[in-house]
């Protein structure tokens, strides 16, 4: 059996970043995820490339980390980032005096923050609430967490790391009190396997609470739910925030073809973290507050509602979870709990994943006696490298999907093989995903089902929410994996998952679309008879 130096548990951005860092430092690395990459909080956040301005007044340390990582991601993850800049607006009901404190705090943390005239703000961002009385421009942006995670994992694999998705860690293997590996269960075959390693890094986000328990350690995680709404088109081109103390639903972020309003913040019992529901009250609040940032939102179609869990480490008894620092927590369980070989990396946020990975990898290297420097802040992710390669497999001649694919995969889109015209045919028309891109995602980016494809390509994420493309993609998957029945069951699960995000906001066009989708998939296709009892 292959003996690893490091096993990382958790296929979110933290685990992905840690796997990349470990692999780049020459460690034999295995990344294990119980579902798909980004299936937890990573795939359920705002996609905001924080400048740190939001934290500047309340948490200087987080603000400084943010702006540093913000600048780093612009360099190493160009193809995952949109440099939109952001506005912090003051509305008549807000205290304009806060602006001064805000700017001073930003500047102190090293964040460019410049007060601009409201008229200038409206010119820069026409969707903004015209009644604003003040605006500050900051280097906020948008980041695609799916793309970022996949790029990190991809690079880890290019550096020799192994990846196991759909494998759940069922126990942490110990010998003489020392962690020496993990036992996992294959979600598809239901068989158990053991993998050995010298170090196990727990990067399970909120689920890391449980992973730590398996190792015999207690990490008190604080599950705070945040709900968001996705709108059907890109209303704003700059991030819009409220210039006041952080509150509910005060950030509007553009991303690809859509925009997102969020978030709420509420305490969640730990046993509900796998089954989050967005309530009508949360939807109403997000809409009401969102319309204050950009009034147009009140009449914009909502595609879906979803919620993520902030993996905060409980520090005090604040019931809202907001005053807890977003600071990084890296626990050496050898010194903390007397469990050698076990590390937990948690806290933090999407923005600081790379730094979190660095801390965790530094600690692992120290324990393994490896003296290699972290290079993840300097070396670009695959897709964001300088495009000077001479080994292009195809000329970039293909059609509509090509531009979209380039946006998604950066320079790696050159690896999307187009053998003939058929490969250029669009599977997903909303997001411009071609047959070739789907096949690339299946072969190169470990897409085993439609959900994976959605996260790798944006297939089914557009206005129609997978009306026809899901079925087309299922057909291509059936061809690739040779199992028609499994791909139809997968299609049923995918459509049901889409519906779960749609029904909390299903009125107007969204309800009409949902009804149409039901008529196609259930009425014409009979998909209801293929629903598998057990779903992800």
């Amino acid at each position: 059996m292959k003996e690893y130096d490091v096993i990382i548990v958790g296929g979110g951005i933290t685990g992905a970043g840690t796997a990349r860092d470990c692999a780049m430092r020459g460690l034999k690395t295995l990344l294990i995820e119980r579902h798909d990459l980004t299936a937890g909080a990573t795939g359920r956040n705002h996609g905001l490339l924080h400048s740190g301005a939001r934290y500047a007044v309340t948490d200087q340390e987080s603000a400084e980390e943010c702006i540093r990582e913000n600048m780093t991601l612009r360099k190493i993850a160009r193809h995952c980032v949109e440099e939109t800049d952001g506005l912090f607006i003051t509305l008549p009901e807000d205290d304009l005096a806060f602006q001064e404190t805000f700017i001073a705090s930003c500047l102190k943390a090293g964040i460019r923050a410049e007060a601009i005239d409201p008229a200038e703000a409206i010119r820069l961002e026409p969707s903004v609430n015209k009644s604003l009385i003040g605006a500050v421009r900051v280097p906020d942006g948008a980041v695609d967490p799916f793309r970022l995670t996949v790029a990190n994992v991809f690079d880890a694999q290019l550096h020799g790391a192994d990846l196991l998705t759909y494998h759940e860690v069922t126990s942490i293997v110990k010998e003489n009190g020392r962690v020496v590996g993990v036992e996992v269960m294959d979600a598809h075959t239901k068989t158990r396997k053991t993998f050995r390693s010298r170090i196990v890094i727990n990067a399970g986000g909120i689920w890391g609470h449980h992973i730590a328990e398996l190792a015999g350690a207690t990490v008190n995680m604080f599950p705070a739910k945040g709900a968001l709404l996705i709108f059907g088109h890109r209303v704003n081109n700059m991030v819009i925030n409220r210039c006041r103390k952080p509150a509910d639903a005060d950030i509007l972020v553009p991303g690809d073809t859509i925009c997102l309003i969020g978030t709420t913040s509420s305490r969640l019992p730990y046993d509900q973290i796998d089954d989050m529901k967005v309530t009508p009250e949360e939807v109403d609040l997000l809409l009401r507050e969102g319309a204050k940032l950009a009034p147009e939102l009140a009449d914009t179609r909502i595609l879906r509602a979803y919620a993520g869990v902030r993996p905060l480490v409980a520090a005090d008894n604040d019931p809202s979870g907001r005053s807890i620092s977003r600071g990084i927590v890296c626990l050496d369980h050898e010194t903390r709990d007397g469990i050698p070989g076990f590390i937990t990396i948690t806290g933090g946020k999407l923005m600081t994943y790379r730094l979190m990975a660095e801390w965790a990898t530094d600690l692992a290297c120290k324990k393994l006696g490896v003296d290699k420097k972290c290079q993840t802040a300097e070396i670009c992710l695959p897709g964001s490298e300088e495009d000077a390669r001479t080994d292009r497999k195809t000329a970039k001649t293909y059609g509509l999907g090509a531009k979209a694919a380039e946006g998604r995969h950066g320079t790696r889109s050159a690896d999307i093989l187009v053998a003939d015209k058929k490969d250029e045919s669009l599977v997903c028309e909303c997001e411009g995903v071609s047959v070739a891109e789907v096949n690339y995602a299946i072969e190169t980016l470990q897409s085993k089902n439609i959900l994976n494809l959605r996260r790798r390509t944006r297939l089914g994420m557009g206005t129609c929410q997978g009306e026809l493309c899901a079925c087309r993609a299922a057909g291509l998957l059936a061809k690739a994996n040779g199992c028609a029945r499994r791909s139809v069951e997968d299609l049923a699960a995918f459509m049901n998952e889409r519906w779960k995000g749609m029904f909390p906001v299903a009125w107007g066009e969204t309800l009409a679309e949902a009804q149409f989708t039901s008529w196609i998939y259930e009425g014409v296709c009979g998909l209801d008879s293929f629903v598998k009892k057990e779903e992800e």
Binding site: L426, K479, M495, A512, G523, C525, L527
Partner: protein, 408 residues
């Protein structure tokens, strides 16, 4: 402008009513926005699929159901006329009146159907497969039809399939554009002179099989090409449904429309009704989007505007409305109760629709509008998706409303 009856909505219900009334001498106007549920027609009409015997299933429906309001005996009578009625229009359906059969779905599943287009594959009610070995063909690069699903479904029932792809140089033009390889565009290509060449390609694979199955991508503008192709192919040729748009559905809509116009009906395509003038509990006239202040008057009106996806109903965060006249709507007040979390459960919102009295007259301010009837999926009280009654409710309610108008 004055008509005997004005029908709002040009889908299956509206056209059925329009043709029936015109045949019986009425001067009718249909205002149609264009697309309808026929654009995703499966090739089969469903009357009620809850049981092998559609009428047994119908007799057990609740009292608010449109079928119950229409009455069992009436439904028997209307339903007997459906097959000949379509034949007159030039559309041939097959099926037993009192027994549902099976159709094959695009995912290789089997669903109950009442009448199926004669060019489509259909399986007897006892499930006996009519073939041992079939050639299953697709058009190369056509993504809205997947042979692997169908082959798997057929294999489970003991049918051996030989899967082949057909490629013809004439389709290359469609491949130039990544969004052009869709059913209707293929059907535009597979027409006229090309039918012979297509038949020759199909025949290459038809030798050792009992039947040939292929996606319904022939016959967009008429049945002639379908019949020619079937004659030229050396084995029985059956179509299977594709993902939308539905080629035969579009053809049927067009043939029904032509029939209606031939009977003297006026069909305003791409127009929509924006308002109505009510007087003494009657609808007096309507105005349309394209005709501004022109008032269209009639003795009777039929609302056949469909459900949410056809905009016959609209909804906001606060509730459900009938958007043209503000008619009474049967729905649920609390939004959270509109849905079930599992997509495949019966969704309560599917039952929403316009309130009607026992004669299917639409209610406004809790009183029936004397001369405004509702037909098709705009009616409340049924979940046609779960019952398998979409086409049935459309046709039967249209014929019933038409009869009520004529009886006046």
């Amino acid at each position: 402008m004055k008509f005997d009856t004005i029908i709002i909505g040009g889908g299956l219900a509206g056209l059925t009513a329009g043709i029936d009334l015109s045949r019986k001498g009425q001067r009718c106007l249909i205002v149609s926005s264009g697309q309808s549920a026929l654009h995703f027609f499966s090739g089969s009409l469903e009357l009620c699929s809850l049981d092998e015997d559609p009428f047994k299933a119908i007799s057990s429906l609740g009292e608010d159901h449109p079928y119950t309001k229409i009455g069992y005996d009436n439904i028997i009578r209307y339903s007997e006329a459906v097959q000949p009625w379509f034949k007159e229009v030039g559309i041939d359906f097959v099926g037993e009146h009192g027994k549902n059969h099976w159709r094959i779905t695009p995912l290789g599943g089997f669903k109950r159907a009442w009448l199926t287009l004669d060019e489509y594959a259909n399986i007897p009610s006892d499930g006996t497969m009519p073939w041992k070995k079939v050639a299953l063909l697709n058009i190369d690069g056509f993504l809205d039809f997947h042979t692997s699903y169908i082959a798997a479904g057929l294999a489970e029932r003991g049918v051996e399939t030989m899967v082949k792809g057909i490629s013809m140089p004439e389709l290359d033009r469609l491949r130039e554009n990544p969004t052009e390889m869709r059913s209707t565009n293929i059907a535009k290509t597979f027409a006229g002179d090309l039918i012979g060449a297509l038949a020759a390609r199909i025949n290459e694979y038809a030798k050792d099989v009992d039947a040939v199955l292929m996606p319904a991508v022939v016959g967009l503008t008429g049945s002639t090409d379908v019949h020619r192709l079937k004659e030229m192919v050396v084995r029985p040729l059956h179509f299977l449904p594709t993902l939308p748009p539905s080629v035969p559905g579009i053809r049927i809509q067009m043939m029904l429309k032509n029939r209606f116009q031939k009977l003297g009906g006026t069909y305003m395509l791409g127009d929509s009704v924006v308002s109505g003038e009510f007087e003494n509990g009657r609808l007096k006239s309507i105005c349309t989007n394209n005709h501004g202040a022109v008032k269209f008057e009639a003795d009777n009106f039929i609302l056949a505007t469909g459900n949410f996806f056809s905009k016959g109903l609209t909804s906001t965060v606060d509730g459900v409305r009938e958007p043209i006249f503000g008619l009474d709507v049967d729905s649920l007040e609390v939004r959270a109760e509109w849905y079930r979390r599992n997509m495949f459960e019966a969704q309560p919102y599917m039952n929403f629709g316009v309130s009607t009295d026992g004669c299917l007259r639409a209610m406004k301010d809790r009183k029936p509008v004397e001369n405004l009837y509702a037909a098709g999926s705009v009616l409340s009280g049924c979940n046609s998706l779960k019952e398998g009654s979409g086409a049935g409710v459309a046709i039967i309610s249209a014929l019933h409303v038409s009869e009520s108008i004529l009886k006046k």
